[in-house]
């Protein structure tokens, strides 16, 4: 095939691609200025699935999830041997929300990711153990279709990043993923769980803040905060102000951790385990639905500290 023929085929191939943007996308794009002003439907601006009418922030949050990504941060180390979690394959606690479909109870024997980094691929429905910045824990994976991507896991029912959710666990102050401005400002040491929870609840550019609330994770006392990443967060990009969780990452429009985006709903659990502070996040993107929100809760409920 000569170049002219190849170019003609390329042009023809591209010309056959659909050209019209879907109407939900058009509506969402037209609404971006409203969203930035805080007057739009912030939780699911262009979902292809009609969003039910919701007024409660917590319920609206519950309706925001449709997929799950688990991100384990730098320092997310894997247990080298399965010796520590024998027989820990219990199902999620009764408090977890029931899964809508394809639920598989974990087997009695724990499953291990293996050597760092975790192998890329689907994660089995089983109990898995990790050491997150020095804190050993295990969790039960009860749903299928979660994928490992080296240091995080993901699931998206519709193949869209907008339909993902996120769980992140990382130690504080071991991990540097919380604070992209750390290199600029440094970090204060020895915060308490209460200090961190308060800081999360006062981050700039967030709405629908719930908490800090007293909860338990793995049987230990913890603090919980949830918030919606406002489109006003865009105005806070490149802003680094003193305190914990003070920064917004400039590269990916994300807030505080990795690449959270405006439109995401983020839930944060902060727990102290044997003198180490562990922060666990569960977040969902704007196009996510309720099922994966339930899966996030199942995972949190299933956590055990070893």
């Amino acid at each position: 095939m000569n170049d002219r023929r190849l170019e003609a085929l390329l042009t023809d191939w591209y010309a056959r691609a659909t050209s019209a943007a879907p109407e939900p996308l058009r509506g969402a794009v037209m609404g971006v200025p409203d969203l930035a002003e805080g007057v739009g439907d912030r939780s699911r601006p262009w979902s292809r699935v009609p969003a039910p009418h919701v007024t409660s922030p917590s319920v609206r949050f519950a309706l925001a999830a449709f997929a799950i990504v688990i991100i384990a941060v730098v320092g997310f180390n894997l247990m080298p041997t399965p010796g520590g979690i024998v027989g820990s394959g219990s199902p999620p606690s009764p408090g977890s929300s029931p899964s809508a479909s394809r639920s598989v109870l974990p087997s009695p024997s724990p499953s291990w990711f293996g050597a760092y980094p975790p192998p890329i691929g689907y994660v089995s429905t089983d109990r898995h153990a990790v050491v997150a910045d020095g804190v050993a824990l295990s969790f039960a994976m009860t749903q299928v279709d979660w994928e490992s991507h080296e240091y995080y896991l993901s699931k998206s029912d519709r193949g869209s990043q907008g339909a993902e959710g996120i769980i992140l666990w990382a130690g504080f102050p071991v991990s540097d993923r919380y604070e992209p401005c750390f290199d600029l400002l440094g970090r204060s040491d020895d915060p308490s769980v209460d200090d961190l929870a308060f800081a999360v609840s006062t981050v700039a550019g967030t709405d629908d803040i719930v908490g800090p609330l007293d909860v338990t994770v793995g049987g230990r006392a913890a603090k919980f905060v949830s918030f919606f990443v406002s489109y006003r967060a865009l105005d806070n990009l490149r802003v680094c102000s003193p305190g914990f969780f003070y920064s917004w990452e400039t590269g990916n429009l994300g807030a505080m951790w990795d690449y959270w985006l405006p439109g995401d709903t983020v839930r944060v659990w902060i727990v102290e385990v044997d003198g180490r502070i562990l922060i666990i996040e569960g977040a969902t993107h704007w196009n996510a639905g309720p099922e994966l929100e339930q899966e996030i809760q199942q995972i949190i409920d299933s956590i055990r500290f070893e």
């Binding site: 170019e7 390329l10 056959r16 019209a20 879907p22 080296e150």
Partner: protein, 184 residues
């Protein structure tokens, strides 16, 4: 004509909410072509929607840097291409896939070029993000070498070189596909 109308709307709206009105007008005008470019680069419709949406959010954030609204198209194209590139490079999740079936190749069964077009789709799916981007800009958007250079922020000579190599790699991918098919 279309540009004139859009500019007129912008002028009319300046007294009330100039920034939002300008954004909406230009976004409405360029949304289809933007989505189409995102699909040409990313393939997956849902990914293209996400990328287009993200790019317009970025555009809204960076609006003060758009000094001349008549230059919206090349300004926004840079944002969109960067958004698509970041998405492709973000990790294995965004590795390229064969999008030939997803791009609605509605060729008739008796179309003599159908097999070749299908092969093009499979070949594109095997290219690196930068190759796929530059081919989409040239053969989907039909941009000039200079316009591609401006979009990508590279010299025109580099664009020519990258286009040449992208075509060679596509050709190699097509040949490899033929080998696989013969081997079967």
């Amino acid at each position: 004509m279309h540009h004139t109308l859009a500019r007129s709307k912008l002028t009319d709206a300046r007294g009330e909410a100039p920034r939002a009105a300008a954004f909406r007008s230009l976004a409405d005008q360029h949304l289809d072509e933007s989505y189409r470019l995102a699909r040409a680069i990313l393939g997956e419709p849902a990914d293209a929607e996400d990328a287009t949406h993200d790019a317009f959010i970025t555009a809204w954030q960076k609006w003060p840097t758009l000094r001349d609204e008549a230059r919206f198209e090349p300004w926004f194209r840079k944002i969109l291409v960067n958004t698509c590139r970041n998405r492709l490079r973000r990790g294995s999740r965004w590795q390229l896939r064969d999008i030939s079936d997803e791009l609605m190749l509605a060729a008739a069964d008796d179309d003599p070029n159908r097999d070749e077009r299908d092969a093009i789709g499979r070949g594109l799916a095997r290219l690196e993000p930068d190759d796929r981007i530059i081919l989409a800009l040239r053969y989907d958007r039909d941009l000039t070498i200079d316009a591609i250079a401006s979009t990508l922020g590279i010299p025109s000579g580099t664009v020519k070189s990258r286009l040449h190599h992208a075509l060679r790699r596509l050709q190699a991918a097509l040949e490899a596909l033929e080998i696989v098919e013969v081997a079967r």
